[in-house]
């Protein structure tokens, strides 16, 4: 195949498909076993310094925040993070000093809420390096290639732009149509983390609402940690197998974490905590504020339960549930 052009971005997360097949054969257990553990154990066992990390959900939606805070608490370092519309999660990891490199589809911004002071400061000062650019489809098709066990997938985006020039993609001539097409290299993160509404002890995880690219990402990553609002019985999963998005044999750890996406949204369960996101954006405007944030909400708390207390406890959480479920607030008491 004739190579017409290639992006100069760094190729991150790529592996030879045969090497990965061998690794899967040797390391991914096909046994149905209980994988429940604490968040702290899961991060200790499955996240390593220097890892390439990808996080499920989208933007501020269905993000495994308990794991993100725990990565900061355990002071993991030198991570490369998939900026696959990574917003609050990436911000917290950058602010916590965990990240040295990012491949960017969408990062350093909070959509309508504005740009991220913390992420921008890190990139503009050179403390955190953008190693390559891509797009949202570009990223998810990289995961698709890995999930399929093939070296690349073909696409028709990116072409002709600087996004292509700073990507790890190549432009080749399609042997059938004769037209130029884009090849997106497979991407196998070292570890991927997800938050789901329900999962059994073996790791069979179900998602309500949009799946984003969690289907592909879970199958592309070498190690997978799933946090879940609720651990449910194996029987409940088997009654509705069509709802299962992530199968047990790709999962390494299952942690039960109610309200585990806060301040992100959990579809059908609770809404974004806009107040808390705004607080983070305000505090992270300066280095000192960022440190204060971490000592108040991350390093200064024992665990996620204590964090939930600090952000307002059950009163706040119930209010977020009301908004998500379109329930009108109770009328004022006489």
């Amino acid at each position: 195949m004739e190579i017409l052009d290639e992006g100069a971005g760094e190729l991150v997360g790529w592996r030879d498909p045969d090497e990965n097949r061998e690794w899967v054969r040797a390391n991914k257990s096909r046994a149905l076993k209980d994988k429940r553990m604490t968040v702290s154990d899961a991060v200790r066992r499955f996240v390593r310094d220097g890892d390439y990390v990808a996080i499920g959900g989208f933007g501020h939606v269905r993000v495994p925040m308990s794991l993100v805070y725990e990565v900061v608490r355990q002071r993991k370092r030198d991570l490369t993070v998939a900026g696959k519309t990574a917003v609050h999660d990436l911000d917290i990891l950058i602010g916590g000093g965990c990240v040295s490199r990012v491949e960017v589809a969408y990062s350093f911004g909070h959509e309508l809420r504005g740009l991220s002071p913390c992420g921008r400061r890190a990139v503009e000062s050179g403390r955190c390096k953008v190693v390559a650019e891509t797009s949202n489809a570009g990223y998810q098709w990289r995961f698709l290639a890995a999930a399929m066990g093939v070296p690349f997938v073909v696409s028709r985006n990116l072409l002709g732009t600087d996004t292509f020039k700073k990507s790890s993609a190549k432009k080749v001539r399609d042997p059938w149509s004769g037209k130029p097409v884009c090849l997106l290299p497979a991407c196998y993160p070292d570890v991927a983390m997800f938050h789901v509404p329900r999962c059994d002890a073996h790791g069979n995880a179900q998602i309500d609402g949009i799946i984003v690219e969690d289907f592909e990402l879970a199958r592309a990553a070498r190690r997978v940690i799933v946090t879940t609002e609720q651990v449910v019985s194996d029987d409940l999963i088997r009654r509705e197998p069509h709802r299962t998005v992530i199968p047990f044999y790709v999962v390494d750890a299952v942690c039960e974490v109610p309200w585990g996406a806060h301040p992100a949204q959990m579809p059908y369960e609770y809404y974004f905590d806009e107040e808390h996101i705004r607080l983070w954006l305000q505090m992270s405007a300066s280095e000192e504020g960022t440190e204060d944030y971490f000592s108040r909400y991350v390093l200064g708390v024992q665990d996620y339960e204590e964090y939930l207390e600090r952000v307002g406890g059950i009163r706040t959480l119930n209010r977020l549930r009301q908004i998500e479920q379109y329930r009108p607030p109770l009328p004022e008491q006489e």
């Binding site: 959900g57 989208f58 933007g59 501020h60 939606v61 269905r62 900026g83 519309t85 960017v104 589809a105 969408y106 990062s107 350093f108 911004g109 959509e111 309508l112 809420r113 740009l115 921008r120 990139v123 503009e124 050179g126 650019e133 891509t134 797009s135 949202n136 489809a137 570009g138 998810q140 098709w141 698709l144 696409s155 028709r156 985006n157 990116l158 072409l159 002709g160 732009t161 600087d162 996004t163 700073k166 432009k171 037209k179 130029p180 097409v181 309500d208 609402g209 949009i210 799946i211 984003v212 690219e213 289907f215 592909e216 949204q265 579809p267 059908y268 974004f272 806009e274 998500e324 379109y326």
Partner: protein
């Protein structure tokens, strides 16, 4: 009846008028969402909204904060995957793509990645997100941004998302799907299209009270001015009322 309206209301209404009923639109955050929701509540009840995180065909109750917000799949026909919706885009099912931008050039290329040098940027912006995919793969891209000489530029520091790249035939030569590209650009001053011959930006309509001189002086590159320039329709009272219903807290529309 003469009414007063804000710039944002005007942009939202002008944008919504471009979306025809029974067509599909891939919607980005902010004004594009407002415009698509307004169209759905007025002349285009069967406008098919598609969101990049997987929401397909929702009846959006109130302005979503994110393109992944559960409101993007409220009473939807599918809560799907990114692979599915991006593939729908690539295989030709999406009529309009609706984007905001930080800056644009005469060919409708846009930058949302960086100001200054890429390796050591003066300002790091969020990057493509789904914008490159939408600008590459939908049939007609509609862009909304504020216009001034810093945003309508001769040369972008970074082309995040393709317009007509460097002229006629460039998209196809690079391998992008044939027949796509920017259709309209909407700013606070007017509405622009692209000249058939050169694929450079040309004025289509100016907003009430805006002069052609203002339009030209707020662009670093020369805008093609045709002999006939239409005037846009200002928002009606009923459109303004619907906008407030869509965005009750004034997140985009303003209070």
């Amino acid at each position: 009846m003469a009414t007063t309206y804000t710039e944002t209301e005007l942009l939202a209404c002008v944008a919504s008028h471009m979306l025809a009923d029974n067509k599909s639109v891939f919607v980005g955050t902010g004004l594009p969402m407002i415009a698509a929701m307004l169209a759905q509540r007025t002349h285009a009840p069967n406008l098919l909204l598609i969101f990049e995180a997987g929401g397909v065909g929702p009846q959006v109750p109130v302005l979503p904060i994110s393109v992944g917000d559960s409101r993007t799949f409220h009473r939807a026909v599918v809560a799907s995957t990114m692979h599915d919706v991006m593939s729908a885009l690539q295989s030709g099912y999406v009529d309009y793509g609706f984007l905001g931008a930080a800056a644009i050039d005469a060919y409708g290329n846009i930058n949302t990645t960086v100001i200054g040098d890429w390796a050591r940027p003066r300002v790091r912006l969020p990057g493509s997100g789904g914008a490159n995919d939408i600008g590459s793969l939908c049939w007609q891209t509609i862009l909304i941004l504020r216009q001034d000489r810093k945003k309508f530029v001769e040369r972008l520091p970074f082309i995040t998302t393709p317009g007509y790249l460097y002229g006629p035939g460039a998209r196809e030569a690079e391998g992008l799907p044939a027949g796509g590209g920017p259709y309209r650009v909407i700013t606070q001053l007017g509405v622009y299209g692209f000249d058939e011959e050169t694929k450079r930006m040309a004025l289509v309509a100016r907003h009430p009270g805006v002069t052609v001189t203002e339009i030209q002086s707020n662009s670093e590159f020369e805008i093609i001015i045709p002999a006939q320039v239409a005037q846009t329709e200002p928002p009606t009272g009923s459109e303004q009322r619907i906008l407030r219903e869509i965005d009750p807290t004034g997140l985009v529309v303003g209070r």
